[in-house]
């Protein structure tokens, strides 16, 4: 074989022809199963309108958290409009007792609520995950000891634990988020441990260990990646819970300070006007309900975890 021929043989097009990749193999395969990824996703969603709506809603909420001006031109703090005007085309959610546009306050509030929920979920995962990883992988007395600690944390009702932590940290939305996150540590640790126990038994981990890989390497390169998926499912599930807990603590007055608009504190603000202005409590509350429903529906699509 001459040099030129050698070069021709290893050119990318020739290579591709000689070794068809997976995607090409699928295209070459005859029959009705040839459905593109996008079309598969589309038909999957078309059969699940609830999931589709949940995804659209969460996308809108996340967008609103980053770019609130996309959804409303009104300022959440400007007091120009009519006082306690009911919902109308101009003010979708009405206006509050000092003439602020409620829709705009809810839109701008999503950034606070989303950020706090994200912090809470991350705190739970980052503190609880490693605990469960070590407990499940090392096993023995360390596992038993760590799991007793988890049992103790689980014995305290979540909201009461969060209240104690909030009292210790001080009042504010970040403190509330941390406090809710602390209540998630135990379940994150438990789920991670369960997954690690399952993975530890699998042949490829045995193989890695038999091949002489060090403990730390097996843990990080082989066990951890497989545990990530169930942890993401848990995170999605906890996200909905976090929204609820954070708005609850904000409602009780431990979260943001006025006039910042957080969803739970918006409901609390409207509380004194239940008689005269129903929209002040109804609208922010409905937003919470729909957002939590959407988050929970999406997490169910990801899969299930046992806690």
């Amino acid at each position: 074989m001459t040099q030129i021929e050698e070069l021709v043989a290893i050119g990318p097009a020739a290579e591709a022809a000689a070794h068809p990749t997976k995607a090409q193999e699928v295209v070459l395969e005859p029959g009705p199963r040839r459905v593109g990824r996008a079309r598969y996703a589309a038909s999957y969603l078309a059969r699940r309108p609830g999931l589709l709506m949940s995804i659209l809603w969460m996308t809108a909420v996340v967008l609103a958290a980053f770019v609130p001006s996309l959804f409303t031109s009104a300022s959440p703090l400007a007091v120009g409009a009519a006082i306690t005007a009911p919902p109308s085309w101009h003010h979708l959610f009405g206006t509050d007792q000092i003439g602020r546009d409620l829709f705009s306050r809810v839109v701008y509030g999503s950034s606070l609520s989303m950020r706090a929920s994200l912090i809470a979920v991350l705190v739970g995962l980052l503190l609880g995950g490693p605990l469960g990883l070590v407990a499940g992988y090392v096993g023995g007395p360390l596992d038993a000891g760590l799991m007793r600690v988890v049992d103790v944390l689980l014995s305290i009702p979540a909201l009461l634990l969060s209240l104690a932590v909030v009292l210790a940290l001080g009042f504010g939305l970040t403190d509330v988020a941390l406090a809710v996150g602390v209540a998630f540590i135990a379940s994150s640790a438990r789920v991670t441990r369960g997954e690690v126990l399952k993975i530890r038994q699998s042949p490829y981990v045995e193989a890695a260990r038999a091949g002489g890989a060090r403990q730390g390497r097996v843990l990080v390169r082989h066990v951890l990646p497989s545990a990530v998926e169930p942890l993401l499912v848990l995170a999605a599930l906890e996200f909905g819970e976090a929204i609820l807990y954070i708005s609850t603590l904000s409602f009780l007055g431990y979260g943001v300070q006025p006039p910042a608009p957080e969803w739970g504190s918006l409901v609390a603000d409207g509380r004194d006007y239940l008689n005269t202005a129903w929209w002040l409590t109804t609208m922010p509350g409905l937003t919470i309900v729909v957002t939590v429903l959407a988050a929970n529906r999406i997490s169910r699509a990801f899969g299930r975890v046992d806690r």
Binding site: R148, V149, D151, V152, L153, S155, I156, P157, A158, L159, L160, L161, L163, A164, V165, V166, L167, A168, G170, G240, L244, S247, T248, F251, L252, G253, Y254, G264, V267, A268, R271, L274, N275, W278, T281, T282, G285, I288, V289, V292, L293, N296, R297
Partner: protein, 321 residues
């Protein structure tokens, strides 16, 4: 039944429960002692300017703040083990007597809520497993996920608005009589009710598919008898296992519900205590929550062999009954 096995089982469970309680107390103690301020700040409202250094010193000694943390912990724990949870910073009353005074109101609320949760949640599960209409079943089974997503503080306010302000059916606030209990108990019942409904519906479906249900049907038992005599009895075990979580939820939920409906009780006490940085009261309430959870779980563990005769004790193969 062998006596010694049972005795050992009970003793081991009691010991474990006590350990968990001590540990829960310790966790809360440590959390609350990372406070940026401390007891003296909380008592004086942080404005310790008009206090002489000597008074400050004697306050610190009185509250044990001059000691190292482990010594403070032991001081508090040994008092707590003797049933003394300290005194409220706000009123100076004993925490135990504050908790005891507020207990009946919250127990009535939580008890009624549990009843509602069992009746509505259980009813929903039974209805959903028995209906032959597919769409009705899916509507019924989607209700629990709605119940889990509704914040109780908001639901309470909505119920207040509709049934109290608009329709004047139930009083909005206060502690007098059963009528004032209905709306708060309904609000509190939604979350546990939703959990009971989804869990029970799942285990009922599973139980009805079991061979013993087929056997019962084959022997001529009607649908009602199969449902209540065989399937429900077995499906209930999974719900009973959850009782500890449910009771913990009811206690924690009372904080929100009693605040919304301005009801006196443990929840309102806790809400006030957190707002006023009244550490001993918060600590007492957390311990009470853990105590409720642990003792209900203990009770369930001890009752388990009676509910499900296949359960064996302490890993031994000797069946209890």
């Amino acid at each position: 039944m062998s006596g010694p096995v049972l005795a050992r089982y009970v003793a081991a469970r009691l010991f474990q429960a006590a350990l968990v309680l001590v540990a829960a107390y310790t966790v809360t103690f440590l959390v609350l002692n990372t406070l940026p301020g401390n007891a003296v700040d909380a008592i004086t409202g942080g404005q310790a300017t008009d206090i002489t250094p000597q008074q400050l010193r004697s306050l610190q000694v009185s509250f044990g703040l001059n000691r190292p943390v482990w010594s403070q912990w032991w001081l508090h724990l040994s008092q707590a083990l003797q049933g003394n949870l300290g005194r409220s910073y706000m009123t100076g009353e004993r925490v135990t007597s504050l908790l005891a005074a507020n207990f009946p109101s919250t127990a009535a609320l939580a008890g009624t809520a549990l009843l509602f949760a069992l009746v509505f949640g259980g009813g929903l599960a039974i209805w959903a497993t028995n209906t032959r209409s597919g769409w009705l079943k899916s509507v019924l089974l989607s209700l629990p996920s709605l119940g889990i997503a509704v914040p109780s503080f908001w639901l309470g306010l909505m119920l207040l608005q509709v049934f109290s302000f608009d329709a004047h059916i139930f009083p909005g606030t206060g502690n007098d009589g059963f009528k004032s209990l209905v709306l708060p108990a309904l609000t509190l019942a939604v979350l546990p009710g939703a959990l009971i409904a989804s869990l029970l519906a799942k285990s009922l479906d599973a139980a009805l598919a079991q061979p013993y249900s087929d056997t019962a049907r084959a022997k001529g038992a009607g649908p009602l008898r199969v449902q209540f005599g065989h399937a429900l009895r077995n499906a209930l075990t999974s719900t009973v296992t959850m009782s500890g979580v449910l009771v913990g939820q009811l206690l924690a939920g009372a904080v929100v519900v009693e605040t919304v409906f301005s009801r006196a009780g443990l929840g309102e006490l806790t809400e006030q205590a957190v707002s006023n940085a009244d550490i001993p009261v918060v600590q007492g309430m957390v311990v009470l929550g853990a105590l409720a959870f642990v003792s209900i779980n203990l009770l369930v563990d001890l009752m388990y062999p009676l509910l499900d005769r296949r359960v064996v004790l302490g890993g031994r193969s000797t069946a209890l009954l």
